[in-house]
Amino acid sequence: MSFVTVFDIVNSFGLEIRTGEKRLKEQVTGGYASDLLSDVIAHSRKGNIWLTIQTHPNIVAVATMKELAGIILTGGRKPDSDTLQKAEEEEIPILVSPLFTFELVGKLYQMGISGKGEC
């Protein structure tokens, strides 16, 4: 698949959409998985889908700053209520998957979404 949208990911893996429905048609440029915010700030790229277990509002600040396509909370993590509020304001898609990060990254990779390679 050459052109993957956030919506394609939601559809393929049955993700729960919590916020940012308006932006699901955007193209996903790649993926990044990390729970350290400075790491994500340093290495994610614009349009990336970000997998994390962090649920606090600062993930929205990071996604906004790096213009990410969306955030997937893995392991069935529930976003904090103020995270949802901030994500609605900033129009950042927050999606939830029951899968753990490793499993979901594998599936995304098979779907044609890759990282940027070595740093």
């Binding site: 350290l36 915010l37 400075s38 700030i41 509002p57 600062n58 600040a61």
Partner: protein, 151 residues
């Protein structure tokens, strides 16, 4: 380091409240918006806002309060961040990637990985960090508006 006192096209100062994670990233988002509206190239905006985000987070994580000033001049962007707080006892050690004094609460939020200052260093053209233990920290960085930053 280049001084912005002459030829300042724009200057704005923002207050940062230490310990308040609720609005973390708000100041750097505003910096990014200002630079976007001013029409700077993407790379300049990206580098400045990443460095500003890390600097803002440092004040929130470690200081009582601080302020971040953005200066725009014809040749460079300069950001000055001053805070009042515990300061950094050993600046050289703090610059080392992976070194952190963050407590468990900060680490649980995904901060305190010891990457903040090195992220600032990597994304700026000049960086000066000075601190007085128990007083506070003074950080300045510059991003030049030349061709290498236009991509």
């Amino acid at each position: 380091m280049a001084e912005p006192e002459e030829n300042i096209c724009f200057h704005e100062m923002f207050h940062i409240e230490g310990g308040n994670f609720t609005h973390a990233g708000a100041i750097s988002s505003r910096v990014k918006k200002i630079l976007k509206e001013a029409g700077f190239p993407g790379k300049i905006i990206r580098r400045t806002s990443i460095a500003a985000f890390e600097a803002e987070m440092n004040v929130i994580c470690y200081a009582n309060q601080g302020n971040l000033s953005l200066f725009i001049t014809p040749n460079f962007l300069k950001v000055v961040v001053k805070d009042e707080g515990i300061g950094i006892p050993d600046v050289n050690l703090a610059m080392r990637e992976g070194y952190s004094t963050a407590d468990e609460t900060i680490r649980e939020l995904g901060f305190g990985a010891g990457m903040g200052l090195s992220n600032i260093k990597k994304n700026t053209d000049e960086m000066i960090l000075t601190s007085e233990s128990g007083q506070g920290t003074h950080l300045e960085f510059i991003i030049y508006l030349d061709k290498q930053n236009e991509g």
